[in-house]
């Protein structure tokens, strides 16, 4: 077996050793450095949707913003996980999320970054479309009972009744992944109309 190479990078002025092939996020977490995330899950393929883990990297005198969950922890990389610019970005992202999803997790993070009350209004969907449920169902369970429909501002998550009615009752593993707690309590979308998932599962019958 090929020996795993080690790389050395600097995160927040600290020298950090990481295995080659790790992302900045993994390297940082290994070193006990916190970077906020919402759509990241170690068992799932990187997704890069919430953008909260955006960090500043500099190399050859150039500064660049990248998402830590995707960017490889290259040798010699200099990373800053906090800066006024990053705070500004995270603050705005959380304010945007909070407008539609005033869930505890989001509120907690928002408070941490100093968002009081969002200046925006949005339909309360309680879903930030992090895709954890969709990706878990697809990548780990390979059931594809839940998925995205729609594009742009119309994008949303739906259960597909013909699959969900057979597999979801005995699984429900995606519930615990949901950062807004939407999944156990409610679902929306074309397949369900006003039914909650619980209603839906108890009838065991798809009403399309």
């Amino acid at each position: 077996m090929k020996k795993v190479q080690k790389v050395t990078l600097t995160i927040n002025k600290r020298e950090v050793r990481a295995k080659e092939g790790m992302t900045i996020l993994e390297a940082a977490r290994d070193a006990g450095i916190h970077i906020p995330t919402l759509c990241y899950h170690e068992k799932l393929a990187t997704y890069g949707a919430c953008r909260l883990c955006t960090v500043e990297i500099s190399r050859n005198g150039r500064t660049q913003l990248v998402t830590a969950c995707v960017y490889p922890a290259d040798d010699g990389l200099v990373v800053k996980t906090d800066s006024p610019r990053l705070t500004k970005i995270r603050k705005m992202l959380l304010e945007l999320m909070l407008a539609s999803s005033p869930a505890k997790t989001i509120q907690g993070l928002a408070q941490q970054y100093g968002v009081a009350k969002p200046r925006f209004e949005a339909k309360k969907t309680n879903c930030i479309l992090c895709g954890l449920c969709v990706r878990y169902c697809n990548e780990i369970k390979q059931a594809n009972a839940i998925g995205f429909v729609g594009r742009g501002t119309e994008r949303r998550v739906v259960f597909f009744p013909e699959i969900a009615s057979t597999v979801c009752a005995s699984c429900r593993e995606c519930f615990s992944l949901c950062p807004t707690g939407k999944l156990p309590s409610e679902t929306d979308g074309v397949c369900f109309d006003d039914l909650t998932l619980e209603d839906f599962l108890s009838t065991k019958q798809a009403k399309v």
Partner: protein, 641 residues
């Protein structure tokens, strides 16, 4: 048709086609382009075919259905070669006269000639101002080619660049030539094409892909469509040359399903190329193998982004990948994949044939060659124009475009589509190239150029583009999806007269984060239409927010239509045409708009005869009290009904 086994085969076939046509005149009708077809050019084409046969001229005159000829608004267009006599807005009923006068005889049909602003008639295409100032090196062959005929393309020297590349140049030399030509991507970013080719060429792996990006989707832009419809072989030849240079044996054309004619002509072109041995195994006997598949896009703007396009080709939903590795290194199925835009590919054969020095002799220091723009909006001459890089916006808009319609005042020009920006009059003298446009906060984009006049509201324009982007963002990442949603909210609010203090600053704040944090280029450039209009037309935004006034009279919530009693001649036109019956009055009685009923559709303004010009748009001021019911009109001299 036997397959070409050597460059000599190709040259011989070319000679044969040319000599067969040597003494023939031909007439080109834009009946194989969507713009022409929309005007009924296919009927004109059929009429020519029938009439030429009827008058027994089949031996002397050929009829060719060509793609877009650029001056779309004057379709159907007929150009008679070799004299280049150009007839515009030809109807099938004009055809017998054209054939007997101009084709059988030597007379002109004067009424169909182009008339310039002073009423002077112009015979030859190249002397018409719209064409005179252009250099149509890429697009010009459209008029000489029936896109369904590979012979037409070969007659013009088509595929000789490919033959030259395969037999006289090494792949490295081809890459080097394109690098030296400093060809930059015509799809938007302006990335050096040769450098991109080199990256894919040097990327590890045996299997590599080359792809044509024909997912053109900017509102108002149709350059790539017209090239694919009108000259598909030029794109294909460029692609094969690129494949040879890069070391790829499989290619794709990603084309929008919404371009049916482009798809059709492309399929025909691919089949013809295969028949002639220009695609497939052992191309022209060189030993090089390459073939192309067409992937039809399902209509998502975001699929024009390189990683999203490649994901779509893999059969998945076209969403951008979050990876920080270029598709040139890891694209389709994680293989090195080189993606270039339609126009970029079509330029390649010219560079190989004529050399890098020829190409670099055109254009500016950092932007070489020409660029095709779709010049649309409030200009007198709309259509597709190809100009050397470095021509100023003023020259394009005034010399080629013939200035602003109805003598109105120029206000802005929007370049670069939804990722671009609006440039005001103060910037109209900048030379158009990649870097200059970026410097002033817009971009080249794929070549959309929308001209706006004093009647266009810049806040409304920003709202329009954000509406487009809200639908076309894939919706995956938060800054793009939620950021655009909120920017659009604010813009709608401002246009509705509900703007709040701080809204303009909030738009700027949102823009910054969307630019910094979005996953792909659709998001990072999405704020441009807003930022550029704020930068260049901030007072217009402020008037909307602070004075609840739309100075251009566009935003419905902020305007009122008003009939000036002293000008109204009671002609009953607006009264009859008002779709909601909001206008009262009668014969000899001043017409009055009931403001509560009015839906602000603008019909009254449109139908009011210009000699009365009684209807006004008011904004930011109260509508004057209506005259008492039954007020008689004051007759103006000479306007008796």
């Amino acid at each position: 048709m036997a397959q070409f086994k050597s460059p000599a085969d190709l040259a011989r076939t070319r000679q044969r086609i040319i000599s067969r046509r040597a003494r023939k005149r031909f007439i080109a009708i834009n009946a194989s382009g969507t713009c022409g077809l929309a005007y009924g050019s296919d009927q004109v084409f059929q009429a020519f075919v029938a009439e030429i046969e009827r008058q027994g001229l089949t031996e002397q005159v050929g009829v060719r259905a060509t793609g877009c000829l650029g001056f779309c608004e004057n379709s159907p267009i007929a150009i008679i070669f070799p004299e280049e006599i150009s007839y515009f807005r030809v109807k099938p009923s004009d055809v017998p006269e054209i054939v007997s006068k101009t084709l059988a005889g030597k007379k002109l049909v004067n009424r169909l000639l182009y008339k310039d602003g002073n009423g002077k008639k112009i015979v030859r295409e190249g002397e018409i101002p719209f064409y005179k100032h252009q250099s149509r090196i890429v697009f010009g062959n459209n008029r000489l080619i029936d896109p369904k005929s590979i012979d037409d393309y070969i007659a013009l020297g088509g595929y000789s660049a490919l033959s030259k590349a395969l037999f006289e140049m090494s792949p490295e030399e081809v890459v080097e030539t394109v690098k030296r030509a400093n060809l930059r991507g015509r799809g938007g970013g302006g990335f050096p094409t040769g450098k991109k080719w080199e990256t894919t060429r040097n990327a590890p792996g045996e299997i590599k892909f080359v792809i044509v990006n024909a997912d053109e989707g900017d509102p108002g832009a149709y350059m790539d469509r017209s090239l694919l419809e009108g000259n598909p072989h030029s794109v294909l030849e460029g692609l094969i040359i690129g494949a040879y240079a890069i070391g790829s044996h499989e290619g794709y054309v990603y084309v929008r399903q919404e371009y049916p004619l482009a798809v059709e002509n492309l399929f025909i072109a691919l089949n013809q190329a295969r028949e002639y041995g220009l695609l497939g195994k052992n191309i022209i006997g060189s030993g090089f193998n390459f073939d192309v598949a067409i992937h039809r896009g399902a209509g998502a703007f975001v699929s024009g982004e390189s990683s999203a396009l490649m994901t779509a080709i893999e059969g998945r939903v076209g969403e951008p990948r979050p990876k920080y590795i270029r598709t040139a290194v890891s694209g389709i199925r994680e293989r090195p994949s080189n993606l270039n835009n339609v126009e970029t590919w079509a330029t390649v054969p010219l560079i190989i044939s004529k050399g890098a020095d020829w190409f670099t002799s055109i254009g500016t220091a950092e932007s070489k060659g020409t660029k095709i723009f779709s010049l649309v909006g409030k200009v007198n001459n709309t259509g597709l124009v190809e100009v050397p890089m470095g021509m100023t916006l003023r020259e394009i808009i005034y010399d080629i475009g013939g200035g602003i319609r109805q003598g109105k005042k120029f206000k802005a020009v929007q370049t670069g589509g939804p990722s671009g920006g609006c440039l005001p009059e103060s910037l109209i003298d900048i030379p158009v190239d990649f870097d200059e446009l970026t410097k002033v906060g817009s971009m080249m984009g794929s070549g959309g150029m929308i001209v706006m006049d004093e009647d266009d509201c810049m806040v409304d324009v920003a709202r329009y583009f954000l509406t487009f982007l809200a639908e076309e963002s894939c919706g995956k990442c938060i800054p793009c999806r939620e950021g655009i949603r909120q920017m659009l909210h604010i813009l709608i609010r401002i246009c509705d007269g509900q703007g709040q203090t701080g809204d303009i600053e909030l738009l700027e704040e949102l823009s910054e984060v969307i630019q910094d944090a979005s996953l792909c280029a659709l998001g990072t450039t999405a704020p441009n239409p807003v930022l550029s209009t704020i930068r260049n037309f901030r007072d217009e935004y402020e008037e909307h927010v602070k004075e609840r006034r739309c100075p251009s009279g566009v935003c419905k919530a902020l305007i009122s239509y008003y009939i000036q009693p002293e000008r109204c001649q009671a002609c009953l036109l607006c009264l009859r045409e008002c779709p909601v019956g909001a206008i009262t009055g009668g014969k000899n009685l001043v017409h009055v708009i009931d403001q509560d009923k009015c839906t602000k559709c603008g019909t009254c303004l449109e139908v009011c005869p210009p000699r009365f010009a009684a209807v006004l748009i008011l904004s930011g001021e109260p509508v004057p009290a209506a005259p008492p019911q039954g007020t008689k009109v004051e007759r103006t001299k000479g306007t008796q009904q």
